[in-house]
């Protein structure tokens, strides 16, 4: 390592040495369908079930903890579906909606209405009318892709604060549900099939979620040409039971943590996406180190990505020839330290207790609760859930129930 070289210089020359165009690892899955399909690995069983189900107009529920790969799965799934339906020379419209704003059920319907109206506006005057005048949201197609006769749109929403200009057109106060149903019929005529992929559905209040599900039975049930695939962090067992009883979802996919093997493949895929020439190993990581990393990831692709990203960057800056055990241990210390210090003390404390007790679950001992200054497990849940979202905790499920474990990036005090 030459002291005269710039930091960036060090970094870039390492990457070059490793024959990587850039650091490929990132926490969220790539938008580009091609890239995503390159990187995506595993979940074959789930894909086997899901694609036919959606094609047949049945609904799927995908559950899983944060960071376990729901979004990757759903994106990959709809891309594959698009490919396969296009290959059959059939028409289909796939709408991917993430983060639907609003707290009320009516907001949900309005969002769907907007999306559907937008898809029909070129062909239908009523849809155009609605699309132009519906208040409260504006939508953008952030991604469109057409394969054969299959269109895939990713739609994002922004909230607008507006007042009605035309009393005849639907405004913020009108009930969007009947309009939605009508437009859906039209859309199904036009597109043959429609698939709604709704990501992070249960970010809303559970009551709202339940109300939407229970109150939209004809939306979810009544058509062969219309399918929903909904992801969520994980409803409670109960809600699933209800849903099963209501029969909204034909399939209930629970994403379990991935195996180390699978994770290794994903890492290799990521590397290959930026390699100058394809390889089948995880260079610059040694197998030893990759084994360690995939263990630390605890089955979570997001954890894998975060760890790999940081390790690679640190190692690049330090100019290692390869990332072997020594190198890894060296940079891992620093990474852990930085990560831990950036955490607010409260979170650090909770992580520490989680680490000490081997994870926080509903069977947490009273003394440990006392350490966290809490009287009940229930009172901890909100914080645990938000820490899961931050990636600081990971949620695993076993026979004992749900357990929250600290990310390996957390460095417990000695």
């Amino acid at each position: 390592m030459s002291p005269n070289k710039s930091r960036l210089g060090n970094h870039l020359s390492s990457l070059q040495k490793w024959e990587l165009r850039e650091n490929p690892f990132r926490a969220t899955p790539p938008d580009d369908p091609e890239l995503l399909s390159q990187i995506f690995y595993g979940r074959d069983q789930e894909l086997d079930i899901a694609i036919p189900t959606l094609y047949e107009g049945r609904n799927i529920l995908v559950r899983g903890a944060w960071g376990i790969g729901k979004t990757s799965l759903i994106l990959n799934l709809i891309y594959q579906l698009q490919q396969e339906v296009a290959a059959l020379d059939q028409k289909m419209l796939v709408l991917y909606l993430s983060s639907i704003p609003g707290e009320k059920t009516v907001d949900f319907y309005r969002a769907l209405l907007m999306a559907v109206a937008d898809s029909l506006k070129d062909k239908d005057s009523e849809a155009q009318d609605i699309a132009n005048t519906l208040l409260g949201y504006s939508i953008q197609r952030t991604k469109t892709s057409t394969e054969g006769k299959v269109q895939l749109w990713a739609i994002s929403f922004s909230v607008k604060d507006e007042s009605p200009s035309n009393p005849l057109t639907p405004n913020t106060n009108a009930d969007p549900y009947p309009l939605l149903m009508r437009l859906l019929d039209k859309a199904e005529q036009t597109f043959d099939r429609i698939v709604f992929a709704i990501d992070d559905f249960d970010k809303k209040d559970p009551i709202v979620v339940q109300t939407i599900l229970e109150g939209s039975l004809d939306l979810f049930r009544n058509s062969k040409r219309r399918a929903f695939i909904i992801t969520g962090r994980g409803f409670t067992d109960l809600q699933e039971a209800t849903l099963k009883a209501l029969g909204i979802f034909s399939e209930d996919i629970n994403l379990i943590p991935m195996t180390q093997e699978d994770l290794r493949h994903i890492a290799i895929n990521y590397l290959n996406s930026v390699r100058m020439s394809h390889r089948d190993d995880c260079y610059p990581f040694t197998e030893e180190v990759m084994s360690l990393i995939t263990d630390y990831a605890q089955g979570f692709p997001r954890q894998l990505n975060t760890i790999c990203e940081k390790v690679l960057r640190q190692a690049a800056s330090k100019g290692y020839d390869e990332i072997d055990l020594d190198a890894f241990n060296d940079v891992w210390q620093v990474i852990q330290q930085n990560y831990t210090l950036e955490l607010p003390p409260q979170l650090r404390h909770l992580l520490y207790v989680a680490h000490q007790t081997g994870g926080i679950s509903e069977d947490i001992k009273d003394e440990d609760l006392a350490k966290l200054d809490a009287l009940t497990y229930i009172s901890l849940l909100p914080k645990l859930k938000s820490m899961e979202e931050l990636g600081v905790l990971i949620r695993r499920e076993d026979e004992g129930g749900i357990r929250f474990l600290p990310s390996k990036l957390f460095q417990p005090p000695t």
């Binding site: 409670t236 109960l238 039971a241 209800t242 509903e362 009273d366 009287l375 009940t376 229930i378 009172s379």
Partner: protein, 756 residues
Amino acid sequence: MLRSLKRRKGFGLVFVRCTPVGGLELIEKVRDDIPQKLVGILELKEPISNLIDLVETFPNVENLKILFIVGLEKSLVEYIRPGYGGEGDYYNLDTVPPILSHLNWQRENYRDRFRHLCFIFLLPQFAIKYMIRRAPDFFDWGTGVVEYPTDSKLIEQESIRLIGESYEEYLKWEPHQRLNKIAEIQSYLDANPDNAKRASLLAEKGNIFIANQQYEEAIDSYDRAVQIKPDKHEAWYNRGIALGNLGRYEESIDSYDRAVQIKPDYHLAWNNRGAILCDKLGRYEEAIASFDKVVQIKPDYLDAWNNRGISLKDLGRYEESIDSYDRAVQIKPDYHEAWYNRGISLKDLGRYEESIDSYDKAVQIKPDKNEAWNMRGIALKKLGRYEESIASYDKAIQIKPDLHEAWYSRGNALGDLGRYEESIESYDKAVQIKPDLHQVWYSRGIALWNLGRYEEAIDSFDRAVQIKPDLHQVWYSRGLALWDLDRYEEAIDSYDKALQIKPDYHEAWYSRGIALWDLDRYEESIDSYDKALQIKPDYHEAWYSRGIALWNLGRYEEAIISLFQSLRIKPDEELIWDATEKLLLFFRELSKSSEKVESIKFVIQTYKDSIEILEQIGDRQRLLKFHYQLGKVFFELGNYTEAIENLQVSEQISQTLNDIPNLALSLFDLARLYHLTGKLEEARLYFKDSLRLFRRLQDPEKSAAATLALGNLEMQIGKIPQALIHLREAENYYQTQDNSERLAEINYLLQILQVA
């Protein structure tokens, strides 16, 4: 006359009317003209009642031929009374001057014992007239009255000599001196001086009369004087003084008015005028005008500044009064009266510190000014400096031990310090000095009451109302003391008395209600409370007690409403909240069995209203309880949504307050609700946590209930192993309790599991 005297032989009585100075002249003349006869002069300097003895002991009386008796009129002056017409006609018809009766009765003795002597009585007109009336026989033996006129110049001279003293001067004289002078003046008056002198002599007489406190006579003299000489301003002035002394204030003022009419710069008259207007008639404005005149004329007339200040104070113009006092002490820095008065005005302004400074000045100058010590004490008390105030009172009492005001104030100050025993001692002293101080008896009663000596307190109160029967406060306090002795009926009588006097005495109505309640006469007690509330609608104590009475009568809804009124007025009173809570629970139990819908609605509304108030005042502990209770009501009604809402609030508050027992209960009930509303997973977690807390609280009964509920739920969800564990646990407990009902339940569930 001289000729006859020369010739006379033997006993004789001659009465000569002359002035004192004329008499002297006559004596000289006789001496000169009749040298052959030995002449003696018996000068009477003071009143006598026996002349013979004096004559007998007169030196060389055997050889005397002529004896002048000078000054007999002095023995008659005392008996002069005004009013019997004409000048000089002063006869007291009731009494005879002893000397005259003596002369009358003893005339023969005179003749017999002094055969050789010729008595020449030199007398003024009035004495002669008196003698003629009251010693007629003696007089008849004389040769009539001989007139010896005095030269008018001499009369004038003498007159001038006689006039010019003020009554203040005469005050310093001995009474007999004053009498003699009156006699003298009268003599000269009888000698017909000119008008000017006559007026002056009369006025002079008036002055002496004032000194003698013979105000009527003084006024009469002045009247005569000003009749003759209307512009005699001093006479008007002194007349005013005399009238003032008699309490004839209006007339007094008229006199002063005349005086200043004549002599506009007569500052003394202005001052006196002002004093009467201020002190006696309460006509402060006019008084101030008078005093203003005084200081206009004589700016350094202290008295006027002082009096002016007092008048202003009486009008409530305290600042101005202080200015007046300031002027006074400017002129005379050690004018303690002004310092004292200044203190009073400052006190009236509430400027107690400064008032104390003024009092301090006053007692610096005059250490024995007990009023100042007393007032100083009062000011200190107002500042809450009780110890110091007592020291001040002590000083006042030292100087004037019978200053009952100070004893009373002392008692009050001790009472304020809570030193009741000592305060009673002080009060005792005060009433010893002046037994009719009802205020003191009352305060004494209060002090005794504070000591719990109720009987004695009542005695004290009795004394007070004996003196002044319309003291409603005392009757009321008396009632309270009787109540403290559990003598409820008598207490009510006392309250009634107070209410007779002051029908809107709401405290009395309230206490009356309490006493009736103690007698279990609930209806009547409510009537009393109602009366109190009519007068004072925000009387929260009355609302509360009314509520309790209604509760006793089984009129629960009205009771709750009453209690709630009390809460609305005074939301931070634990007692009322406790009662309301209890009553609501009680009423709910009742309503459960009767299942009256209206009652439940009413209860719910009350809880909601209570919660509103509790939120306002921020009483979280109680808010928790009320939300919990309301949650339970909804639970029982089957209104699960609202039940959950309320229980969630009580859960939240319990968390923040670290109130484990209430948290456990809230969690348990929420768990049941979640179970009932189909949220099984949530219910499971809640049962689990409630069980955790029940175990922590070491409550086996509740722990068992939670365990059973949890096992039941786990069974429903399909967590069989856990369900089994929990059911067995519960089974163990209920076996020890021999609770067959529960055991049957568990058995049933277990059977289902075995089969499954």
